[in-house]
Symmetry: C2
Subunit: 387 residues, 2 copies
Amino acid sequence: MVGWRSGTAQDTVTLTLFPTPRLRKSPFYAATRRYGCDAFSVYNHMLMPVWYGDPEEEFWRLIEHVTLWDVACERQVEITGPDAARFVQLLTPRNLDTCTVGKCRYVILTAEDGGIINDPVLLRLGENHFWLSLADSDVLLWAKGVALNADMDVMIVEPDVSPLQVQGPKSNATMAALFGERIIDMAYYTLLETTLDNIPIVISRTGWSGEKGYEIFLRDGQYGDALWERVMVAGKAFNIGPACPSQIRRIEAGILAYGTDMTLTTNPFEIGMDRLVDVEQETDFIGKAALRKIKAEGIDCLLTGVEIEGDKVANEEHWPLFADGRRIGEVTSCVYSPRLEKNIGLAMVERGLAAPGRQLTVKAPHADLTAHTAVMPFFDPNKELPR
Amino acid sequence: MVGWRSGTAQDTVTLTLFPTPRLRKSPFYAATRRYGCDAFSVYNHMLMPVWYGDPEEEFWRLIEHVTLWDVACERQVEITGPDAARFVQLLTPRNLDTCTVGKCRYVILTAEDGGIINDPVLLRLGENHFWLSLADSDVLLWAKGVALNADMDVMIVEPDVSPLQVQGPKSNATMAALFGERIIDMAYYTLLETTLDNIPIVISRTGWSGEKGYEIFLRDGQYGDALWERVMVAGKAFNIGPACPSQIRRIEAGILAYGTDMTLTTNPFEIGMDRLVDVEQETDFIGKAALRKIKAEGIDCLLTGVEIEGDKVANEEHWPLFADGRRIGEVTSCVYSPRLEKNIGLAMVERGLAAPGRQLTVKAPHADLTAHTAVMPFFDPNKELPR
């Protein structure tokens, strides 16, 4: 069995998944199947490719060349209407004053108690035209619920928009071959609206890899196959290959995964996202009072890096962490990095134990493992992290 | 490959799914794996068993004996607080006046435009204590969003509650062996709170099979394995076996699946659920104005039964439906019933063509198929349908 747990000391659990109408298909689904993908997960009620055979091979191509990912499962929530800007600010603790038209922002959406609803990338397409490019939760329902009695004039829909990611050091050459040299000058976390022949798209300088990269938001699903093949042709000279979000690379970069490293019961301070919370801003947002209180009183636990000794690992659930025989937290994500030649991960631990170098024991299902807290990110020469 | 598409004329698509921390595990997960399940889907961000090898074998056991299902993925949204009853009524068009403590109701939750958010079973545990036992969408986020400015005093959480279903004609004997004879007298769509030794549970006379059945809501996840084994021991004399929600049986009974037969863009009248919508009630609910308008103006399409000729079928996406060469709708679900010895399904069609006996053509990916509209339910001697 090839897969991201191949080579680990653990039993590799393989389950079978069948497509059903409830699991929506991406406009790129046929292409991903044709290119050999048969490992999928489910994300926002949609089939999401997770690898084409060997995640380590995809990792090397990502950091040395360029890769194309079907991430149509990053569904968009579109917010328009006269009060759209005010409504979007209501949804997030991040101060959006400097998020002018054409810019993107990594934001946290919070509930009234400060818990995290989602951590999307926000795209501002117009004064009152926004997309939230989502992690895995029904923000469409959340936003519609919030809007009900908010006394604001907004329209909230899921548009026919499906992102691809083009990630890797040769992503700019690939994108320039498709869209011209202007693409290379796009500033990080900006967007532009354009077409490729008759295909309507939005391009953003964003991604989930820590590498140089772009997202191409397809605005009409019928062109899924055509767009996929156009990118593949353009990238051929740069050694492009199909790939999927890389757990190895994102953990190296300290990029977080919603549902794994944070949930509705986590607050932004616990994941070190203080910079995304402005409790001093005049404008109101959901969770403001709770987050102000948490900020004043401090947090009990904090997400930190962790290194795990021994054979290759990968976790299929959170693993309990112990210090001096006492339970002090859990490993939320871990993976073997073939570049760093060690196991790296993220762990939610008691705040007092989050400093690097603390010896810990991981109670993995297959064995007790020796570990220590570590500095995040593990590898980040590019500084292309969520902004 | 054994599975619900085995024996069909179509290509059987098998994808690989790996457990990850983002895909939550049921308290019964270890038991389902031990009993041989390796086919799973994802439902409410949780791994959901879909069969143990042969869905037709599970079907026969369901209709002749008794089956035990892990449906922990039917997550609960718990609503409590002084205004809980008023808040729950706000969420649904169904008039809840007669839903007294100890009763259950099949309800539709609607958005402001009348679109369907979810179709849960509502359980009333106390005057102001409710559970919504969910289909596959984040109603927790919807309800929290609605509550923000609703000016009602409610608390909304996802409790540690995980349902099992015990379904089949011998379910009452199995349940009586566990809980005593009183269980047999439980009225359909009622509940009771009890314990099994030290295991806290709620029992309801509900289910997703059209057969006599019960749900056992485990109120403390640590007892998952113990509860599963207790039910298996009690059911041994009645030929109990592990099984999963039966697509065959639920389509025979005309029971609907959220995300498949209805979505956020469907309204309750289009799925024939007029009885669940009371636009004349005095109390306000979300979608009231829109649903009143739709009721007055009529609907354009209606869900109906469909029978499909030829070899066994099963759809992995909606299939377009044509009448006299014109597109008039789509098959939302279909499956072969070994009892009825034909292919049966549900289809959303132009309202004028929804009467039984209309000849249609299904454009399935593998072939054009001859079909006709049909009366739903296809088989229902027990009348144990959602109430």
